[in-house]
């Protein structure tokens, strides 16, 4: 009996990651600002994220400087004037799948989920609820989500001369292709 408890504990203590942790180092994040005057799109495929399907936890981070734009000047303004990427080099998501017991991630297939947690952009952390899907096929998991980010919530100031060029709410599209970590 004692031995059994011991081995269960040992397993639990040292094998937290076993079987259920998925990792991606090439997560796609795209954001889109649309106004009648101008559409602005930023793209990166450099997000790093981990998903634990047993605990329902998901964490992700992206280097702000990895976003690319159609116009070089947009990229310069994005980093220098809006995101201040020297000061706040990355954005971070720390979230959990709501009502985890409703889902079964052991078999293949796509399921709609809701993530709840903290999103940190531009040094400001906000509680968020993001709708998305998780699709499992063998050792791969694909997580997708589309959500809105309000610039004012994250203290990202848009000067009055360009308020007509930049939307107040930015649409963010996330597509993470995970692979089983262990």
């Amino acid at each position: 009996m004692k031995k059994l408890i011991l081995s269960i504990l040992a397993l639990a203590a040292f094998n937290v990651f076993a079987q259920d942790v998925y990792l991606t180092k090439a997560g796609n994040i795209r954001f889109f600002s649309s106004t009648p005057l101008e559409d602005i799109e930023g793209k990166s495929k450099d997000a790093v994220s981990a998903l634990n399907t047993k605990t329902g936890e998901i964490v992700a981070q992206i280097q702000i400087k990895s976003f690319r734009f159609e116009k070089s000047l947009m990229e310069e303004h994005f980093n220098e004037n809006y995101m201040e990427s020297e000061k706040f080099p990355k954005a971070v998501l720390k979230a959990k799948i709501l009502d985890l017991e409703k889902y079964d991630f052991s078999k293949d297939g796509e399921q709609k989920v809701v993530f709840e947690g903290d999103l940190t952009i531009h040094g400001v952390t906000k509680k968020v609820k993001l709708e998305g899907t998780i699709k499992k096929s063998g050792k791969n998991v694909q997580a997708k989500s589309v959500f809105k980010v309000k610039l004012a919530d994250y203290n990202i100031k848009v000067p009055s001369v360009v308020t007509k060029n930049i939307a107040e709410d930015i649409e963010v599209t996330v597509d993470f292709p995970y692979e089983l970590k262990i």
């Binding site: 504990l9 280097q63 159609e70 070089s72 220098e80």
Partner: protein, 302 residues
């Protein structure tokens, strides 16, 4: 005793692993991200708002695949007074196109009304300030330009040599973006003139230049630029050019509002032909207005 120790260690480990599972995940992606970025080069960008400090070159190039169009004006001296509306009645103009061929090479052409001067230039980044894979604290840029005067010959009956109308400039721009708001550079320069007015004038003029940029707000900066001629011949007639300007950025445009004792908008005029004496109130007002156009969209492939 030993067993108990192991047991409590394991229980402790179990408890820690539960409470910190999310932090473990965070540590994991932090580690993976660092690993991934270790081999990336993080270049310093926008040490100056445009490829000009004031009138001469800054260490910045026009971005790859981008065409910049610039109109510059230099007016008469402010001391001309109200009659000439403080110099505004008297204007020299230069317009210029600069194109970024890739991340390190830029070509440009320009045309000034003064001397009906055409100029062409080439600018190459030799070393780029960066961190990450390599730590390089400064940028080094080579700049060269050639300018030709196309005024009608003063005396067409004389034997005139077209080669006499050419001047050349070579510059090494060595600079650093010290912080988000402050950048500085030095610019050793040589100007070669094929023809000089008298035998005492040197064909090659050496000068040491420098420029600084200080941001006042995110979209407003002040630049100061100075060139010191290293020869002293004709010091009374020709002055060292001191210029300063406000860079104002509005979306795709950059306005540079300039005050200077120099009126020329090309290097040979700026460095070897500046006559304005600041002490005598010879300060010219001027501006550069630049607009960039994206010719090649880099994200198309993503």
């Amino acid at each position: 005793m030993f067993k108990r120790l192991v047991l409590s260690a394991l229980i402790f480990g179990f408890a820690v692993s539960i409470s910190n599972a999310q932090d473990d995940l965070l540590d994991l992606i932090e580690k993976e991200d660092n690993e991934k970025n270790k081999d990336k080069r993080d270049y310093a960008s926008a040490a100056f708002k445009t490829n000009l400090a004031v009138t001469s070159q800054s260490i910045e190039n026009v971005a790859s695949g981008v065409l910049s169009f610039r109109i510059s004006h230099r007016f008469g001296t402010i001391s001309d007074g109200l009659y000439d509306l403080f110099g505004l009645d008297n204007s020299d103009i230069r317009f210029a196109f600069d194109y970024g061929i890739n991340d390190w090479l830029q070509v440009g052409v320009g045309r000034s009304s003064f001397e009906k001067l055409y100029d062409g230039n080439l600018k190459a980044k030799i070393l780029r300030q960066q961190k990450g894979k390599q730590n390089i604290p400064i940028s080094i840029v080579y700049y060269t330009s050639a300018a030709v005067n196309t005024l009608k010959w003063a005396d067409p009956n004389r034997e005139n040599f077209p080669s006499a109308r050419w001047t050349y400039c070579h510059q090494l721009l060595i600079g650093r973006k010290f912080s988000e708001s402050f950048s500085a550079q030095i610019s050793p320069t040589v100007i070669h003139r094929n023809l000089v007015p008298t035998t005492k004038d040197a064909n090659d003029v050496f000068a040491m230049g420098g420029a600084i940029r200080q941001k006042l707000t995110k979209r407003l900066a002040v630049n100061i630029e100075y060139f010191h001629r290293l020869d002293t011949y004709n010091e009374k007639q020709f002055k060292n050019p001191l210029s300063f300007c406000f860079d104002i950025e509005t979306g795709g445009h950059v306005f540079q509002l300039i005050f200077s004792n120099a009126r020329s908008m090309v290097e040979k005029g700026l460095i070897t032909e500046t006559t304005g004496d600041i002490g005598q109130g010879d300060i010219y007002f001027g501006f550069n207005l630049s607009r960039v156009f994206t010719v090649v969209d880099k994200t198309k492939k993503m």
